[in-house]
Symmetry: C5
Subunit: 356 residues, 5 copies
């Protein structure tokens, strides 16, 4: 998502029936990949493509991974075979949703936001549809994100494989939450660099970058808060279900997301503080500059006036009051000494008032 | 509504009985249009005008559309024939209400705010009165807003036509919510342009426009929050009713309005950030200007003083201490060299303190 | 109340027994007027003065209006005849209370704040004591405020007259709430004028007025929030009573006060925004002034230095390096051309850096 | 407390057992006074000192007043004779606690903060321990604060004397709350003076005083909020007890403390506003100064350059282009007229741009 | 933790199974110390090292202290012997967790943050695992922190030794909370010094230090709030347990942490206020400087222009209008008097407008 995506969220035309997922309007539709994994404590089967999707479920648990924009066929198959609510499919097609939880009895539908790898501040949407024995994940981009999970499923005797599908759902969600931490960490490192740089050489570019960081953290904060709400709703929902021993895992996920929120907010405070520090430092520097200006002006402008006086061309022969000083043997020395003395006095006054 | 409308909301004279709808005071009264649609899964009938309003209801569901300021006859007919509470009619006449939910058992009354098409920041009021089998909509302006809904109703076999009247109410409300998104999108595009413009050429006009945007977003935010409250109340209310399968649709509407709030608040943060960036950039630029001022002053004012000294007209014949330098063969060159050297030193000092 | 009154709220000496209403200390005591109205669907009787207060109640509902500071006799009569709690009477005597709700079983006691007519930002206190069949109103000032209500009561067949006393209480409260709207409207109009004025001719007086407005809105906001709380408490309380059909009227009053809060807060945001805009505009104007200062200084100070150089009186006969330029035929023209060229270059540089 | 006290709150060494009240460390221990009052509707007895504390309770209600730092004997006596929880005694010894409510079944323990008389911003701690028939008050300083209450108790037939001990507790608490109002009032008066002074003659000292006031209000606000919480807890707690007719008195105390909070927050807003106004006024004044600087510079620096030109000493005999103007009969008048004209033009331009 | 630690919190790789505690990745693993204390009212035994951990529990209560980074053996032993949830162990290994409460039925797991002694703003993590009769504490660093508690346990007849293990848990937690107070106190003392210093000699270094303090207080506030939440959860949890007489102790701990929060927030407000005061003082000082600049410029620049005029070299013989003033006997005196008079007038004007 990122700031751009938050703005450019797709929306259907006002007046359209809710639950409309008009693939035709979606430019990149139909290029998604499909992967179907059936598993139980004893078995593991993996199929690909639309045929996989339509194949009979051979083992108690099935995980359908749909990555990239799905074709209309796939969506229709999902709707008819697994009874997914069209409102959920509408959210899958209109990417850029904020993290949310929907309970389409009997299934539940989660939307999450994942930081995109290799991209500075963009998020992709991950949607999960869960029923007893079935998990469907819709991922915006194909990028092998789930390979560590597949690996854990493939291992005979792995804890994940012996449990109900809700544990797999938790694993996927946990992955989404954990992906926030490298992003936060990277931001933290850069913020620290910015702080060092601003302290030594404040420059406008650093200020603008800090501002940009604060905007990034704003988006991360929104994602994290919405995710926290999702985990919360899930906790409440699963208490009604039988999946009781999932509870500590959800608590753990909740702790993680709260921790992420905490870090993001701390960083926002640091960034705000940094901006204030920058402005203070710049203002102090400006004050120094203006003091110099004032010092120079105050020392030399009156002196320039005085020497200007004795540069006047009044006719000394016109009368005894017409610039007689010009003829005094010590006139020049006197004037220069007077100027010098007043400069020293001025300087002392400045020191006294702590302006230097 | 818009900022203007928020201020200019009509109100009755203090001391008047509540539920008074004094049409006489309403300038534009009596120019509204009336359209009555009776429908069921099998039938669709459409009548216009006051006669339509008074005709017997031929099919299970009736939708009465009143657009523009209604005449007293229409209001009286609505009150007597459908038993609308006078407090509700008072709100219809006194336009500019904030979105709200009222439960006048047995009917419910919703007030919503719709962005006006072709107008920058104005909203119009949409009021809905719902009873079993009856929906009355009061729209501030006649502008064919509901034609996509009529189209969907006209289609035989359309989902909307087969359901209870509450689904039509949801469709109207959904339309009102969805109309916020193009407005938000437009704001987002303009904000992005402003950001680019401010970064390259900061100008006062851009700042003022950003301030104006922030005010607009303030109004949008208020409308969105109040609408969210309405949807919430509706959710709570409908749980008591039999319209149980409406729930996911209301959840969907709720998600949309929360999403709108989210975007509006993000944009407000961006606008605030932009204002801060503008002020920082301007302040930096001003600092540069003041540094230049100080540099020029510091380099040339002392120098001007020195040349002023040798422009004095002291009589060199008055004595040996009366400006003897003027007669030295290298006096001129020495003075100029001294000035030049001190300028270079000053310049170096500036560089050293990073003022350039 | 107003800002002043908020400060000057009377309080009893610490250590005094609660429920003490020491009239002796109240300067203006004893000048209030008393009016007693007994009414039912069929009858209407009106008496004045202390005798009216002590007369037997002839009809099911009695409304006692006490306006202006009451005398000790009146308070004692109220306490003994109607059993008002001394704590309530203490609040009546110590004017300047914030709006609040007290449940002195069996009676309830409301304190409200009414904008004073013909006064810019002052509020007066209105207290209501309600029992079955009895309403006592204490108004700080006598100003015929209730005449529209009396008019409605006097009318045979009027809705208000046929209902229980709680409807009269609602009518009084509704009057208090509705009196906020003209005040809000007036503020809105003045704020708009201020905005226009600040945009064209920013002046310190306008800024100070906007600040003053924000303070006013602060007080209005406090009154409105406290009133909202009162209405809320009343809603909760009356659900326990039998006065069930009062509910939509209270909802309506609640909607009104929420609407007032909404407008006041919008105006506060507008005022804050206006102050920020003023400061930005002033700052921009100052920047322009400083740029001009810098331009003039940068163009002319170096030039003045140069001409100062050639105003020095070094003796050209002292040697070949002693100001030989002064004797060159094109010396003058060359210097002037050099100065002019460097001024043009400086100017071009300014344009280039967008400082003009 | 005050700002200082908030910081200097005593705390025991980490790792010490909770409930330790190590008198030895308390410098001023053992100088407190003890006063014991036994009372009922019919009797009133007063004893002093440790013997009074240990005497048998002769009447149904006993009020033990301990003022000033208590000695270890007193604390031990209190613990053994009345069963006070050591945790409560620890709070008595470690002065500077924030207002709080503790329920040490069967007794309850309240800590309150009282403004110190004759001191600008300091608070003293008042602790109350209440059991059926027993009230112990610990006051930080001996200053006859409770004499009005004793007076009320001494009066035969006084309401306070005929009621349970909880009414005395309420009276003490009410006293503590009511003592906030003179403090608030005093602040309000000084704030108003500050406002007037800042409007006419803004000075740095006034700004610093306003800042100091805001800090004071911060402390008062914290005390008031914590006290409100105490009253709230007490309300909740006493509903479980039999002291039912105390309820309206607690409601009254609650209203008072809410009112105090309201005033303090209004004053904080006023102080903040005042600081902003001061800064705006100073900034406007500075702008005027800078405009004057720019005006003078702009008018005279170019003119000085021009007269500098004609002060150059180019040899008029060197050629026809070497300062021929100096020999023109109207040269001097022309130059002066040109300078004057350009000054007028400059001035007109300034007026036009509203810089004057 | 401190600001640094908040950022550098360790996290496992996204996609890893939750509950993974990969010691291999932890650099400093395996250097921790182990100490096991078995105690009851009558006995006290102390063992060290892994053998101690694996020894049979001889007395009803056991306290296992693990300090420094634990080795994999220790963790495995803890998991197998005491059944600690792997999720808890993961939090022990990944240091830098925020304070939190986890209920791993039957045990509970607390994470707290302790200020590091001899370090300015760093915190270490303290984790507690509690079961009936068992307390395991994991401390990040070995530093004899718990010696006062051991001392209290060792004392025969000590209260702590006679109670259940939950009282020991409380004692450890109380220690963690109490360690905040010296830190807060130290900050308070330094803040007061900063205030004094800023009031007399505002310097950039002081401003930056105040900013740094505000950041520190930010971290302390986060720790304190999270700790408060932990105590709260614990209160709620222990009400379900039988440890009923622990309640007042937990209330006491709760009061302490709320008190800490209160102080930290007060200090943050003071720090913010201090920054504002600094900026105001600096701005006032700058205004004084600029006023001086303007005064000097305004007094001397016009005067310099005038003397420049009479320094012009127009040929007095060219005509009667060519600088005749130069030949007037009182010309020089007149010019000087005029300049002096205008300077005095200017100065008076400045005084009048209160610019000096």
């Amino acid at each position: 998502m990122g700031r751009a995506a938050y703005r450019k969220r797709k929306y259907h035309k006002p007046g359209t029936a809710p639950g409309t997922y008009d693939i035709a309007e979606t430019r990149e539709a139909g290029h998604g990949s499909i992967e179907v994994i059936d598993y139980s404590a004893d078995g593991f089967e993996r199929r690909a493509g639309l045929e996989g999707l339509e194949s009979a479920q051979s083992l108690p648990n099935r995980w359908v991974q749909i990555a990239g924009p799905p074709s209309l066929d796939v969506l229709e198959a999902a709707r008819q075979r697994f009874g997914i609510n069209p409102l959920a499919l509408e959210d899958v097609v209109n990417q850029g949703q904020r993290p949310k939880f929907n309970d389409y009895d009997p299934g539940i539908f989660l939307t999450l936001s994942l930081p995109l790898r290799n991209s500075e501040n963009a998020f992709q949407q991950l949607s999960l549809y869960v029923l007893d024995g079935l998990l469907i994940t819709f991922l915006e981009q194909e990028d092998g994100l789930f390979s560590p999970l597949e690996e854990r499923l493939r291992r005979t005797g792995g804890r994940l494989r012996q449990r109900e599908i809700y544990f797999l759902m938790h694993a996927v969600m946990d992955l989404a939450i954990d992906m926030l931490f490298p992003l936060i960490d990277e931001t933290a490192v850069r913020l620290e660099e910015l702080e060092t740089a601003i302290m030594s050489h404040p420059k406008e570019a650093l200020l603008l970058e800090t501002h940009a960081f604060r905007s990034r953290l704003l988006v991360m904060r929104k994602v994290a808060w919405a995710t926290r709400e999702v985990v919360n709703e899930l906790r409440r929902h699963l208490e009604e279900l039988s999946a009781g021993d999932l509870r500590p895992y959800l608590e753990d996920a909740y702790d993680h997301i709260v921790s992420a929120i905490d870090m993001v907010e701390t960083q926002r405070d640091i960034a705000t503080n940094l901006i204030e520090v920058y402005l203070s430092v710049m203002s102090n520097r400006m004050n120094d500059v203006i003091k110099l200006l004032t010092l120079v002006t105050t020392l030399f402008i009156p002196a320039t006036f005085v020497v200007g006086v004795y540069g006047m061309n009044f006719d000394r022969t016109a009368g005894p009051l017409s610039m007689p000083e010009l003829g005094w043997p010590l006139g020049y020395v006197g004037v220069m000494a007077g100027i010098f003395a007043s400069m020293v006095a001025m300087f002392a006054y400045f020191r006294h008032r702590r302006w230097l």
